[in-house]
């Protein structure tokens, strides 16, 4: 099976990012393919590299980055949602005249068309949110 996963909430505040991550791991372990993980709404905040959670807690942003590296996942952050909330990659920050960016390794910023494409190309589309 080919999956697209949509994550609508940021890390920690709601469990949706955790559940999506556990679901993705379980699907990969069963040999399924993850076509794309699309981060929308506050979900874009999963893609920051500036988080430093307590040592005894999980670091969700990093877990996504590591899962992406291990399995070649496509982690896409919605550009419109990211701009509202202050999630920037280097080229977009430069274009906007901002002096810093905060995107984590393994994430890329792109448009909402990537979500629709995920829905078209995948056998299953699963939404995790509040």
């Amino acid at each position: 099976m080919k999956y697209t996963i949509m994550v609508n909430e940021g890390p920690y505040q709601h469990q949706s990012s955790d559940t999506a991550l556990q679901f993705a791991r379980a699907a990969l372990e069963k040999g399924h393919e993850i076509f794309r993980v699309f981060f929308y709404h506050d979900g874009v905040n999963n893609g920051t590299r500036l988080a430093v959670p307590p040592k005894d807690d999980r670091m969700l942003q990093k877990e996504w980055s590591e899962l992406a590296e291990k399995h070649g996942l496509d982690l896409v952050i919605c550009i419109a949602a990211a701009q509202r909330r202050g999630l920037m990659d280097a080229s977009e920050a430069k274009r906007q005249g901002l002096n810093a960016d905060n995107i984590a390794a393994g994430f890329r910023i792109s448009g909402l068309g990537q979500l629709i494409e995920g829905g078209i190309e995948s056998d299953r589309t699963i939404v995790f949110g509040d």
Binding site: M1, Y3, N8, Q15, S16, T19, Q22, F23, R25, A26, A27, E29, K30, H32, R124, T125, I126, V127, F128, G129, D130
Partner: protein
């Protein structure tokens, strides 16, 4: 063409489980995840609704085990007729049902 409905909020706090059960069709499945699992505890005020869905409307109800355990709910406290699955079982449910709908 069965559907897997996913409910993630407590039925004591929100109307999502009620709305979901009002739209699920015979043969569909409903999976309770995250805070929604506390609705699966026997003796709670939503038991009658869940039993009606299972026995009256032929809907299968599942609850995510890791979320039950997180909240201290022992599996023997889960309402009879509700099946407990882990994340692998969650994936299997998305394979067995042709589509999913999340009630957010």
């Amino acid at each position: 063409m069965a559907m897997l409905h996913i409910v993630n909020k407590s039925p004591f706090e929100r109307n999502t489980l009620k709305s979901c059960l009002g739209h699920a069709l015979a043969g569909d499945s409903v999976l309770l995840i995250e805070d929604a699992v506390i609705g699966a505890v026997s003796g709670s005020s939503v038991v009658a609704e869940l039993q009606q869905a299972i026995n009256g409307n032929s809907i299968s109800i599942y609850a995510l085990g890791p979320d039950l355990t997180a909240r201290g709910v022992k599996l023997e406290r889960v309402l009879e007729g509700i099946q407990v699955v882990d994340y692998a079982g969650f994936v299997d449910l998305t394979v067995a049902n042709e589509k999913t709908q999340s009630w957010l």
